[in-house]
Symmetry: C2
Subunit: 336 residues, 2 copies
């Protein structure tokens, strides 16, 4: 890696022509031999270029061994029952960066047999029809929950008001990339307003061409100003984390969904902020049916610290803020 | 507030006996007059003791006006159709810190008519049967998704392995408080292993008495060491944020659920980390049915940057890491 942390072609990533393989006779040990046709180059490869001490959700590359990524290969010989010769094309996680490779039969769960359409190129099965497209699609379907037009009721200044909300507002970072550009289009199809950022004018033009309502170059435009003007944000597709994530949190709507692909949450974590008065209505009937009887019977235990007299309220407030109370702090102002 | 940010009873929180009210004749203007019986003292009151410039999900207290909180009051007179005199007991958000108060009719949506059980004290309706209990219950039901015993399949070293997972592991901070102690008991009832922390030996003893499997004093025991030994954490009930939240993220299991009550997410935000290979299976059929035809027809657009030759792979890897590519980076190693 150079001083900036980038690989150096020919030095840290080497094209090595020294290995050879006997395509007719190399032993397969129950596996299969395939010819590499397509390799996908993705940002996640950087995460695998690391010291083995550093843990992650995916294994590190081993020094001296071929890199590997998503790819498409054609099977030349096979001893694996479910992997057929010649006609079978496979999108495999992970294909080694070599012209040919022998795969063990245990690789089976990680490969998809491509049902190639005549109107799509094979290479698209590692792109829009492959991992990046699948990431955008399944992340969006799983968590975005887009609401194009909705009526909501809010309690404002002591009265229930009906609010017509026009569109969910979506913000997509790295919006010109394979994942981000897919998300922009899913969001537009769902009727949302889409804000998208990327790092060049060419990328901004591309984001506009695929439907982004507001597209900007984050290197020349302040993200916070855009969010303040065009937000609040209901759905955020986060490729970057850090300060931009902080800004989105500041300019997000209540109940916003933030979908994060950064390394920090490489464990599929789900972080939910809760406010009881926003969600209790969904659970109120079950609560009133289940909980008071359990409190009365002692099945659920609780502690109360009762203080009598409104004049003691200031002392109790202080105790709660210092955490010196040892039960739910309650002031009894008057007996019935 | 004193130098440490605590209120000073008698100075910043004042018991004021100067006001008076004519209980028989004070005009109600369509509202109702009620006698305050119970007041709840909660940590959230601190958030309302702030300068009006600072925005939050709940309004700030006004200098010179009575504080208010959750409470129970008995109705003495009423001009509000749905609020009945005498027999009606109400848990109201928000009851002013005064012996009597006139409530406008617009307060109606924020009050719960308590169907008081003879075997529960009225005060418990602001505690375990009130906001703290409701917070624990609805946050847990909404987001915890506890799995006491489950069989999962994981792809380990190239083979699908069946893993019997004994219990979800739950970590609760502020575990002796009204919300945390409720969560500990919900988690135990769901069959989980529960780790709980609090700030005194008395609180540790209480947490053990209500079922916590591992209870510790965070002032004398290092949280990180406990999590490393007793984790990984599947469900985290976060009252504290900051370094402890960072530690939990480090020692959490995949797909962990983090339920956060800190001010930072006072907007009910939902942050989801995603890894495509953990969720795609749920959406695979829909993806393969819907997406390839849309890619072929041009309804969903995509850009590809194709490089031919395995010997160029190192250059493409560098371009992707620098972000200079303008389409999905693909290396074509061989034509079919």
């Amino acid at each position: 890696m150079d001083a900036a942390g980038y690989p150096i072609p020919g030095q840290t990533t080497v094209y090595d022509t020294s290995a050879s393989i006997d395509l007719e006779n190399a032993p397969l040990d129950g596996g299969f031999l395939a010819k590499t046709l397509i390799l996908s180059i993705d940002p996640f490869l950087r995460g695998k270029m690391r010291k083995p001490e550093k843990k992650s959700y995916s294994a590190e590359f081993k020094i001296g061994e071929p890199l590997y990524s998503y790819g498409v290969a054609r099977v030349l010989r096979s001893e694996t029952p479910d992997v057929k010769v010649a006609s079978t094309l496979l999108a495999i996680l992970f294909v080694p960066f070599s012209e040919y490779a022998i795969y063990p039969p245990t690789v089976l769960p990680s490969l998809t047999v491509v049902d190639k359409r005549p109107d799509l190129e094979l290479r698209t099965y590692v792109g829009a029809a492959g991992m990046p497209g699948q990431t955008a699609y399944s992340g969006w379907k799983e968590h975005a929950d887009p609401k194009p037009v909705c009526v909501s009721f809010s309690f404002i200044s002591g009265a229930l008001k009906e609010i017509l909300k026009q569109n969910d507002v979506v913000f997509v970072t790295t919006g010109a990339g394979p994942v981000g550009s897919f998300v922009i289009q899913l969001a537009k199809q769902a009727g949302c307003k889409v804000i998208a950022s990327a790092g060049s004018e060419d990328k901004v033009a591309f984001m506009k061409s695929i439907g982004a309502d507001v597209a900007f170059n984050y290197k020349t435009t302040d993200t916070r100003e855009v969010l303040q003007k065009e937000g609040p944000i209901d759905i955020y597709w986060d490729h970057v984390g850090g300060e931009i994530l902080d800004a989105v949190i500041e300019y997000s709507a209540e109940n916003a969904r933030l979908i994060n692909l950064s390394m920090a949450v490489g464990k599929c974590l789900h972080l939910h902020g809760i406010l009881v008065f926003r969600i209790f209505h969904k659970h109120a009937k079950a609560f009133w049916d289940e909980i008071p009887p359990k409190l009365a019977s002692g099945e659920i235990k609780f502690r109360e610290e009762v203080t009598k007299g409104l004049d003691k309220a200031g002392d109790v407030i202080l105790a709660v803020q210092k955490g010196t109370n040892t039960g739910k702090a309650i002031v009894v102002v008057a007996e019935e």
